[in-house]
Point group: C2
Chain length 360, copies 2
């Protein structure tokens, strides 16, 4: 029995496609970190939810999904989706059955040009792209409301209803202002679309103004989501922390990662900032069936996600060591195919473990 101060129990849900490959790689490096750590140990429990489970049980997750996850300190997630199941079945069946119900309302996506990657923008200088994207993760366009009547008939009507609550908007806005405040530049950009969407988006504007009064040292501005894409391309250095709705930030976070040159390494945290529920950490990439089973998937997005998990758990040192190890390995050119290299998932994982051992 170990005498380390902190013990963590993590649920791992590798799920579909390359999920199992990158999650087991991440578990390996985190175990290595805990071996060299004097302060913490960590135990991963495999949870078999995903498309295979669905085919066997007719549902993507166990009935008491939330209770199961609440018995762990955090969840490390792979990716969900399979070619033979409609995407909206698999995503609502698994990932969206967790994010909203567990009130993981802050989806945080750091984006920067990573060693081994280069911004596709001609004029972007090193350090220009170093953003924190904060996505509202529990309501809005992903509330799940809407329907179809007269399905398939020429007089069919289908709706998608975005629902915004004062509570939901205020809590993400406070979270974003606090994030911005904790960063050196103290800059926040609030993304809405209140010129054409006159209800929920105007509520966003109003709440932003109200919450801003509590953060007088944060410099903030507002952007329409369409104009925001232009600013990201033309003036990346003018941005730092960015907050927006579930759908808007889904779109902008993919764009951000592409502009940073690092879509393959993009991580995300799905946080319950109240810490009543365990948070979930996952790579932004999908299940990538074209390369599944080939051993060539890039594990870096999951390593980075695991680093965010360690930080959330309070293991700041371990997080920094992990990021340093990963960056050194990328810098040394040990890169998977998507980053122009020839390394396998195993090569990168071993190199990162060795580097962790070396850093000590």
């Amino acid at each position: 029995p170990s005498n380390k101060q902190h013990k963590y129990r993590i649920a791992s849900i590798p799920a579909d496609g390359i999920g199992p490959e990158v999650v087991s790689a991440a578990i390996e490096v985190v175990q290595k970190l805990s071996e060299v750590s004097k302060t913490f140990e960590i135990e991963f429990t495999h949870i078999p939810w995903g498309t295979a489970y669905y085919k066997e049980h007719g549902r993507y997750v166990d009935e008491n999904v939330l209770d199961v996850l609440r018995s762990y300190d955090a969840t490390l997630f792979g990716s969900v989706g399979a070619p033979d199941v409609p995407d909206h079945i698999s995503l609502w069946g698994l990932l969206l059955a967790i994010r909203g119900p567990l009130q993981l309302y802050a989806n945080v996506r750091p984006v920067r040009t990573f060693p081994g990657t280069q911004s596709p923008l001609r004029n972007a200088k090193a350090g220009d792209i170093d953003w924190i994207l904060v996505r509202e993760n529990s309501e809005g366009e992903y509330s799940g409301h809407g329907g179809r009547s007269h399905r398939g008939q020429v007089w069919e009507v289908a709706t998608e209803v975005a629902i915004f609550t004062y509570v939901g908007v205020e809590r993400i806005m406070r979270f974003a202002f606090a994030q911005a405040q904790a960063r050196p530049r103290k800059l926040l950009t609030v993304v809405t679309k209140s010129n054409s969407l006159r209800n929920g988006m105007v509520l966003w504007d109003e709440v932003a103004l109200k919450v801003s009064k509590d953060y007088p040292d944060v410099k903030w501005d507002k952007m329409l989501v369409d104009a925001m894409t232009v600013r990201m391309v033309n003036n990346p250095e003018s941005l730092d922390t960015i907050v927006g709705t579930n759908l808007h930030m889904d779109i902008l976070s993919d764009l951000a990662a592409a502009l940073a040159g690092s879509i393959g390494v993009a991580p995300s945290s799905n946080l319950d900032p109240t810490r009543k529920n365990p948070s979930l950490f996952e790579p932004v990439h999908g299940s990538a069936f074209d390369i599944t089973g080939k051993g060539v998937a890039n594990p870096v997005a999951t390593f980075w996600s695991a680093a965010l998990m360690l930080e959330w758990l309070g293991e700041q040192d371990a997080k920094e060591r992990l990021m340093e190890a990963v960056e050194n390995v990328c810098q040394a050119g040990i890169l998977t195919k998507d980053l122009g290299g020839t390394a396998t998932t195993k090569d990168v994982t071993k190199a990162v473990c060795d580097e962790i051992a070396r850093l000590g």
Copy 2:
């Protein structure tokens, strides 16, 4: 009295900000074209709708707005919006009071790297970005449904309801497939978000599949809107014609213009493809109050919009002559400040008129 075969009557609505400056510049070059043309003449009628009109009459447009516009062959529009009126009041008061009600359901936005501009993408080769973006322009996220209850209270709920009808989706899909078919590459990308939005977006998928059967020679694929931003950045040459919802294409068309390096020159057509109602043509840029009245606004987006109008009216030759003149002038370096030049609106307008005269 002229003996020219074709006579057109155009409503011009310059409206706010730099709108009047760029619309009067465009009228000047179109008049010049009609002078040298043997086939058509054109008459512009000024319609004073906009924020000044609103302040005087309490409404942005005349009561019988649709009848007024129906008495012309087309509308040339400037831009609407003023610093002292909430954007959603001005936009729904004027522009959105026309687009939907007149059933101008196809918003077409050609995007390419224009002479005098350069793509900000390091690897984009000349010709890589040459896209036609087709935006559904009459329903979806801009249906105008939704509301706010308990406004300003902590238990407030606000909704934005996107409404998709079979008829609305099918007509834009047919339009987009036909556009793609008429282009040399015959490529169409249908943008949706049917993994998280399970109603209207799934309808989009179903209609795309159905309509595609009538265009067997069009190669088409589907993209999720978030992943589409990555493809636009990383593989611009793989795209040609693109279709999507009102909001998705609002966002992607701004991104597209920025990636082409030419947001300042981006034009748009708001078409009723049935030709029951007169179509509307407008620059994509807004009212730009920071440079209003300084005489430095770039008129090229409005020239290009006017060219699309001439083409829609059937004056293909005039359209081509206008585009040739504008491109020659840009190529010659007669550029406004936003494109890195020092020319005024008047300089560019005069140069284009002279070039039209020279081309004959």
